[in-house]
């Protein structure tokens, strides 16, 4: 499969590019990273010198880069000064929680967003279409964190009824695993809803536009000419074709999703990588911040890779050698 091979190569080179960029951003541009750490931790001159040597920072630029790469490949992401443990351990604790949040949200967002968008597009020109568009534009203009604040206020303070903080009830003891997941599920509701409100709008707008463009294509007239039912025309012929540009656009979505996740985790104290990022900014714990950024960026690259492969599978016209 030459296409998969080519695309994998692109993925790998993108990862190398991101790693290098990360290196430049966190180690070179700010100058001496130890200085950054020293500033926030008030180290003595001796300690600073020792750290310099430990981190190989008294070598040339290129040797520093190689050391950096070597450490990465060994899973060494540095040492956190605020948590006093290797960064990799902190990441292992938190990444799963973020993954849970993102997966749940994406499922809801994509399915609901595309269905609503295609439905609105098929009713182009009618009232249900216009009102859907307006609702989507308003939702898309909302700051995610603010939606979170409103929901926290509504369900945590005003009406109540849903947990607004963390991933589990503190100090809870469960009789079985089902109870544990039920608790997690309850805590998942509001954060997911927050992410969903803004991001569904994205898919509604994109899939609606896509369907409208598809509806004006000649093969849709052929379908109509065949005397097919309206449902078959829209969902059998239009949908498949409209889905393709939506897939292409979802590259943008993945980037926005990650940004949204950070905001949601902050508002709901959801113990994931987003909250970790926020805390590391507050305490200027650069190794942690660096690791969060790197992992997030690589995850986005991998997600785009998967999307591209999916597109390749769905569109029979793609994959022909250029």
């Amino acid at each position: 499969m030459p296409y998969i091979a080519r695309r994998t190569l692109t993925l790998l080179s993108s990862i190398v590019a991101i790693v290098t960029f990360n290196f430049l951003l966190f180690h070179i541009i700010p100058g001496d990273p130890i200085r950054l750490i020293a500033r926030s931790q008030h180290l003595t001159a001796d300690e600073i010198a020792k750290l310099h040597h430990e981190y190989g920072l008294d070598g040339s630029l290129f040797s520093q880069y190689l050391t950096y790469l070597k450490n990465l490949l060994h899973g060494d992401l540095g040492f956190s000064f605020t948590y006093q443990e290797p960064v990799i351990d902190i990441v292992k604790r938190t990444v799963g929680n973020t993954a849970l949040l993102l997966t749940t949200s994406t499922l809801i967002v994509v399915i609901a967003g595309v269905l609503i968008g295609v439905f609105a597009g098929s009713r182009h020109g009618k009232r249900s279409d216009s009102s859907t568009v307006i609702a989507a534009l308003v939702a898309w203009s909302l700051p995610t964190f603010w939606v979170g604040m409103l929901l926290v206020f509504t369900f945590g303070v005003w009406i109540g009824g849903l947990p607004i903080s963390g991933i589990k009830t503190p100090h809870a003891i469960y009789d079985n695993i089902f109870q544990k997941w039920q608790d997690i599920g309850m805590h998942l509701i509001l954060p997911t809803l927050t992410l969903a409100i803004v991001d569904i709008a994205f898919f509604v707008i994109i899939s609606r536009t896509s369907l409208i463009e598809v509806m004006s294509e000649d093969y849709m007239l052929t379908a109509r000419g065949k005397g097919l039912s309206r449902r078959t025309i829209v969902w059998g012929h239009g949908f498949r074709n409209a889905l393709l540009p939506v897939l292409t656009a979802s590259v943008l979505y993945i980037s926005a999703l990650v940004g949204g996740a950070i905001q949601v985790e902050v508002v709901y104290s959801w113990p994931g990588m987003g909250l970790l990022t926020y805390n590391s900014v507050l305490s200027r714990d650069y190794p942690v911040l660096e690791a969060c950024f790197l992992i997030t960026a690589v995850a986005v690259l991998v997600a785009n890779f998967a999307t591209d492969l999916l597109y390749h599978k769905l569109d029979p016209r793609v994959g022909v050698q250029k």
């Binding site: 966190f26 534009l137 898309w140 203009s141 995610t144 964190f145 926005a256 990650v258 900014v281 650069y286």
Partner: protein, 290 residues
């Protein structure tokens, strides 16, 4: 691009007005601009004036405070009006930087093509893929928190989208017949760019720019909420930041955390509506919607 697409700004505004969405967008923006410019001149309190004693903290609206007070007893309404200026200022400035860079690179890459194009597009694609908010956070944390840096950081992450769009359009225009003809008449490249290409790319740039402003304002708000805003300035994002960390939500101080968010919503909505309507005008394929 057909003859109906206006290239002159007044033509565009007129067409914008006719579209329902565009009209709503313009009205919102005028209202916000008015509030931002005139507001701070007429507000009753100094937004930085801290309350006299503990009883003035997180007061509900009343006692001359139209929107109550914050956790330090400062007047929320005054802060709201002042914050409008910063939010809009950062958004617009970042957009200007991003548009200048993005449009220039896009036209350059699309027109000259070749190796310069490949290199530029690789860089552009790289920044398109890197997730925006995490990068902004990282850069904000590293480079510091004053206003200029924030503007640069936000602008730096918005230019790729503009560059891509402008490049596509330039590529299309380049293939039009009058370009080789102009060249055979002896026109130099700069002249062709200025006279033949730029006027036809302008409407697209303008439509895109307005949408970019919306994004930049949201970015500034989010960065300030995270805590990376300029600590000496009040913006809507920073108001929300302080309302959050001071526990105003738990205390039900809706007058504190509702208005700034509503403000952001309206401004972003205004630009989004206007931008979407403009995109419809400059891209006839999207046809008339609302």
């Amino acid at each position: 691009m057909n003859d109906v697409t206006p290239t002159h700004p007044t033509g565009m505004v007129r067409q914008l007005w006719r579209l329902g969405l565009g009209r709503a967008g313009i009205i919102i923006l005028i209202a916000v601009a008015f509030a931002a410019i005139v507001g701070p001149m007429i507000f009753p309190f100094d937004p930085a004036a801290v309350g006299a004693d503990a009883s003035s903290i997180l007061q509900a609206p009343g006692n001359g405070h139209i929107l109550g007070t914050d956790e330090l007893g400062r007047d929320v309404f005054s802060q709201l009006l002042t914050g409008a200026r910063i939010s809009l200022f950062v958004g617009v400035m970042a957009t200007i930087i991003s548009t200048i860079i993005g449009a220039s690179l896009g036209i350059f890459a699309g027109y000259y093509q070749g190796p310069a194009d490949t290199v530029l597009m690789s860089i552009t694609d790289f920044f398109l893929v890197v997730p925006a908010l995490p990068l902004m956070i990282a850069m904000g944390a590293i480079f510091g928190q004053n206003l200029s840096i924030i503007i640069l950081v936000i602008g730096f992450l918005s230019w790729p989208r503009t560059a891509r769009i402008v490049r596509s359009q330039t590529l299309t225009l380049r293939e039009r017949q009058y370009i080789p003809r102009a060249r055979s008449l002896g026109a130099k490249n700069m002249r062709i760019l200025r006279v033949n290409i730029l006027p036809h790319v302008m409407p697209l740039i303008i439509a895109n720019t307005i949408l970019v402003v919306a994004g930049c304002i949201l970015s500034e708000a989010t960065l300030s909420f995270i805590g990376l805003g300029d600590p000496d300035r009040i913006s809507w994002g920073s108001m929300l930041h302080f309302s959050f960390v001071s526990g105003a939500i738990g205390r039900g101080a809706w007058w504190y955390f509702l208005p700034p968010g509503i403000g952001i919503l309206f401004v972003v909505l205004g630009f989004t509506l206007a931008g979407q309507a403009l995109e419809q005008i400059t891209n006839p394929r999207l046809a008339a919607d609302v």
